[in-house]
């Protein structure tokens, strides 16, 4: 119960009015409360969260008998971000460029799965199904990309991306329809659909599976994407996985996301339903239809993410890759760290993209830290980020003397009687 916190609520509403506050909490869905809370923290809190996560991970590195500072600097070098420093030159610059291309390739898909989760959050839904939606998108992208090989490149690419987006949308749409029609909680349905998608993929591409590559009968893998469906590489050698145009498609999707949310009637409805379904139906909105629409859009983002990976650099889909992929869950961390905003998602995706690349076998100097171990650092930091999101909710509660998250909705400005008077005139 710190007394130094100026609390507008108390001052203007006369103290507590415990009732007002509870009514407020009750009228909000829990994802909406989380969203509102997250948005309130500004840029400082996520940066702090990241720093703490790195600090904790650094302690773990120390415990394994390595030097955290040199490990982190090796990871940083592995991300290729040192390419941005003008003083890096020569062979070092060439390597850095290759590594940065890797980082940005990872970032591309992470941006899109991050959007898939963030969009749902803005509508008051938890989309835990990014993984399944991504998998369905990947299955369709690789299937379309590897068949229809006679098509002109542009049409082939557009078709593959569009159908992957549709597949992801359809998969998420199932959860949306189940929620709208039968009230099935989307957390349950999306998690279950993840498993259905994963095992569907394994079935399709396993040895003897219907879509397994017949030319490699002993490998459980899809056919390879045709040249006409591969995304053009614009930076670096295509043979060494240079950077493809997927990053621009992802950034375009970020713009689409921001425009839908902030500028359109659809976004307005989605946010209203997300914050308060009762008020939304009072406004004449169809709450159930909105659940379906939101999930469709989320799934489309995840499907495009998969298309970017498949058409950009993977070109084929291995069954063990389907089973081991964690990208949908990284998307949750990206959305949470990015505070469900367009810019935040890009920044958080870059962070995780850089971590994945920086700790990879290919890029991390094994004499400093074993890449096999380092990869777990990424997932540890991912876990810490999600965990810390909940701890700063607790921290805020403690700071505000046990008053709930709802307080976080109140605009964080100190008592400024003057501004109140101005606006009252």
């Amino acid at each position: 119960m710190s007394s130094g916190i100026p609390d507008r609520d108390i001052i203007e509403e006369g103290g507590a009015e415990p009732g007002e506050e509870e009514a407020l909490e009750a009228s909000l869905t829990s994802p909406a409360r989380l969203t509102a809370y997250l948005r309130r923290g500004g840029v400082t809190v996520p940066i702090l969260t990241t720093l703490i996560a790195f600090l904790v991970a650094g302690i773990v590195v120390l415990l394994t008998g390595h030097d955290p500072l040199s490990t982190y600097s090796a990871i940083f070098k592995g991300t290729g971000l040192n390419w941005l420093f003008p003083w890096v030159s020569g062979a070092e610059r060439t390597t850095a460029a290759l590594e940065l291309q890797q980082t940005l390739i990872q970032t591309t898909a992470l941006i899109l799965v991050g959007l898939a989760v963030a969009f749902a959050f803005r509508a008051g839904l938890f989309n835990i199904g990014g993984q399944g939606q991504y998998t369905m998108g990947a299955i369709v992208a690789v299937w379309v990309g590897s068949s229809l090989s006679g098509l002109p490149a542009f049409i082939h690419i557009v078709l593959a991306i569009a159908l992957a987006a549709l597949a992801g949308a359809a998969w998420a749409g199932i959860a949306g329809i189940l929620k709208a029609v039968a009230g099935v909680h989307e957390v349950i349905s999306t998690i279950m659909l993840n498993w259905v998608a994963i095992w569907l993929g394994v079935y399709l591409f396993q040895l003897g599976g219907p879509l397994q590559d017949p030319s490699q009968s002993s490998v459980p893998v899809s056919k390879t994407v045709a040249a006409s469906a591969k995304l053009p590489v614009f930076w670096g050698p295509a043979a060494l996985q240079g950077l493809d145009i997927g990053i621009f498609i992802a950034l375009a999707c970020v713009v689409v996301f921001a425009i839908i949310i902030n500028r359109t009637r659809l976004g307005y409805e989605i946010r209203a339903v997300g914050f308060n379904p009762d008020a939304a139906s009072y406004a004449g909105m169809n709450v159930r239809r909105n659940y379906v629409r939101v999930m469709l859009i989320c799934g489309a983002f995840a499907g495009v993410a998969a298309a970017m990976d498949i058409l950009g650099w993977k070109f084929s889909l291995f069954t063990n890759d389907i089973q081991l992929s964690q990208i949908g869950f990284l998307g949750i961390a990206v959305a949470l760290l990015g505070r469900n905003t367009a810019g935040g998602v890009v920044a958080a995706a870059l962070l995780f993209g850089a971590l994945l690349t920086g700790t990879s076998q290919r890029n991390l100097d094994p004499t400093v830290f074993d890449p096999n171990l380092a990869q777990y650092l990424t997932f540890m930091i991912q876990g810490l980020v999600v965990l810390l999101v909940s701890t700063d909710v607790i921290a805020l509660r403690v700071l505000r003397g046990g008053r709930g998250i709802a307080v976080g909705l109140r605009r964080p400005r100190g008592p400024k009687p003057t501004s109140t008077e101005e606006s009252a005139t």
């Binding site: 100026p6 006369g14 308060n276 008020a279 008592p415």
Partner: protein
């Protein structure tokens, strides 16, 4: 505090707050407030939203640490650093919103936290039930210890809260707006309970907005305004007018200055033979018919839970009626949904502004657009017209004198009265034919109530049809041109505005109204 002790009590007051100051940053929520209450006395705490009543009680209950000031219990100085300490000192708090576990029984809720135990750590349920029964008999608090909380009425839940405080040994009882959630009948029962507690020697702090209740139950009345104690007055000699003046700091029109309805126009809202079921699929509105003409305020009076909610939801398109017609002007809107109702010209000041009327994390601009966002005014081809939304919000906020933030402020940041002004502004601005006002002044302070009432009369005079659904007798009488009483989903009588509370009360509870009270319209 120099008021003379209440006859029958002597010595130090049961509770005394001296010079309580509570600052939040640079803002003072309580400014050197003195307050005391004696055993066997009811001391009312009166003030507008934001006057500092709840802050003061939070200090008393150990939720806030006072910046300055002292607290005495039975003349002994104490430090209340947590609710647990407050309970130990015999201070009990009954919050406006109950803190009960819905799936547990009355007895379980009451003993929660201080369960009677038998040897071996087992709970002594029989003992708990017996103790609850003993307490409830003693104070006439009719509750069944074995009933599950979610099945009992709001009034009963409140009695459980009171019993819980008594069970924990409270002798100083703080009732925070206890009547806000009760029906008229339950309020009467509550007053009886308070009387018995008082006779038994409890010291009671009674917090309320409602002047007539305070006058009915309190021995002394302390008025807070902007964090300061304005005055403490004995009940004798106090009137609603004098109290209202203390609360607001100026003269208040308690009765709305309402000229008789000028001229009645066409029938704008016509409900015929309407049947609506509630959430449990039970008939809530049962063959109800009513009509409201342009230029009149028709009040629908009744005890809560007699179908008002379902009727309003059916008219505003939120609920699909089973059968019957609802006509607005020429248009048939029964079961056609909210959008059709809005387009036909229905505006709806919702009963619960937090649950329904506002999206609290939205800005005021976004909230003002809530009901009309689809109209070309605010959007075209799926795009929002943000500047127009903002302009409209700015204009309405000025016109309706909404304080506490501009168009970009969040609705959650406003006080209750200002939030309600936003709702009223939005609904009126949509230029409706029919204005449905469902409990439009619930939880508002005197000043805000006056404002809402004045606007409703103005809209009537502009030729709108106003249907007021209210549980407050004063409000119904002050505003209505005609009063319809709803009982068990049917219209149980029609009265003029000069009807007595008694007659109305009888009709509202299903009794036969005396024939001379009925108005032949």
């Amino acid at each position: 505090m120099t008021s003379s002790p209440v006859p029958g009590s002597s010595g130090a007051p049961a509770l005394e707050l001296k010079g309580i100051t509570k600052r939040f940053g640079s803002v003072v929520a309580n400014d050197r407030v003195d307050f005391d209450v004696r055993a066997g006395e009811v001391h009312a705490l009166l003030g507008e939203n934001g006057a500092g009543k709840s802050t003061l009680m939070s200090v008393l209950y150990g939720l806030y640490k006072p910046t300055e000031g002292e607290i005495f219990v039975d003349g002994r100085q104490v430090e209340v650093d947590s609710p647990a300490t407050a309970i130990k000192l015999g201070i009990g708090m009954v919050h406006q919103h109950f803190m009960l576990v819905p799936v547990m029984t009355v007895a379980e809720n009451i003993v929660l936290g201080q369960e009677p135990k038998r040897a071996g750590g087992m709970l002594d349920f029989a003992g708990a039930r017996a103790r609850v029964r003993e307490l409830s008999d003693r104070y006439g608090l009719a509750v069944n210890p074995d009933a599950v909380i979610e099945d009992v009425t709001v009034g009963a839940q409140q009695r459980v809260e009171i019993l819980r405080a008594l069970y924990r040994g409270a002798r100083i009882l703080v009732l925070d707006e206890p009547s806000a959630v009760l029906t008229a009948q339950e309020v009467t029962e509550l007053m009886g309970v308070i009387q018995r507690l008082k006779e038994d020697g409890a010291a009671i702090v009674f917090i309320s907005h409602k002047l007539h209740e305070v006058l009915e139950v309190a021995d002394r009345i302390t008025v807070l305004r902007r964090g300061k104690r304005v005055d403490t007055v004995p009940r004798e000699g106090a009137t609603e007018r004098s109290l209202a003046q203390l609360v607001v700091g100026r003269d208040v029109l308690l009765a709305v200055d309402k000229p008789a309805s000028k001229k009645l126009g066409d029938t704008l809202l016509e409900v015929q033979e309407l049947h609506v079921r509630d959430d449990r699929e039970l008939p809530a509105v049962d063959g109800l018919s009513l009509s409201v003409r342009a230029g009149e305020i028709v009040a629908l009076a009744g005890v809560e839970g007699n179908g008002q909610q379902e009727l309003v939801e059916a008219i505003t398109g939120l609920r699909i009626p089973e059968s019957g017609t609802i006509t607005v002007g020429e248009r048939q809107i029964a079961g056609a949904g909210v959008r059709a109702a809005t387009e036909a010209g229905i505006a709806h000041i919702a009963e619960d502004r937090h649950r329904r009327g506002l999206v609290l994390p939205f800005t005021l601009t976004e909230n003002i657009a809530l009901r009309e966002y689809r109209r070309p005014l605010f959007s075209a081809r799926g795009w929002l017209r943000l500047r127009r939304m903002r302009d409209r919000a700015g204009r309405l906020l000025r016109e309706f004198d909404v304080r506490g933030g501009g168009p970009e402020a969040f609705a959650a940041a406003l006080s209750g009265g200002n939030q309600q002004k936003v709702c009223v502004a939005r609904e009126i601005a949509s230029d409706p034919k029919v204005l449905i006002a469902h409990q439009p002044t619930r939880g508002l302070d005197v000043g805000a109530i006056e404002f809402v009432h004045r606007r409703l009369v103005e809209e009537r005079d502009k030729g709108r049809a106003v249907l007021l659904v209210s549980l407050e007798y004063e409000e119904v009488r002050a505003l209505a041109d005609r009063i319809l009483v709803i009982y068990e989903g049917q219209i149980a009588g029609e009265f003029g505005p000069d009807v007595t509370e008694e007659t109305l009360g009888i009709a509202m509870t299903g009794g036969q109204a005396s024939p001379d009270a009925a108005v032949t319209a």
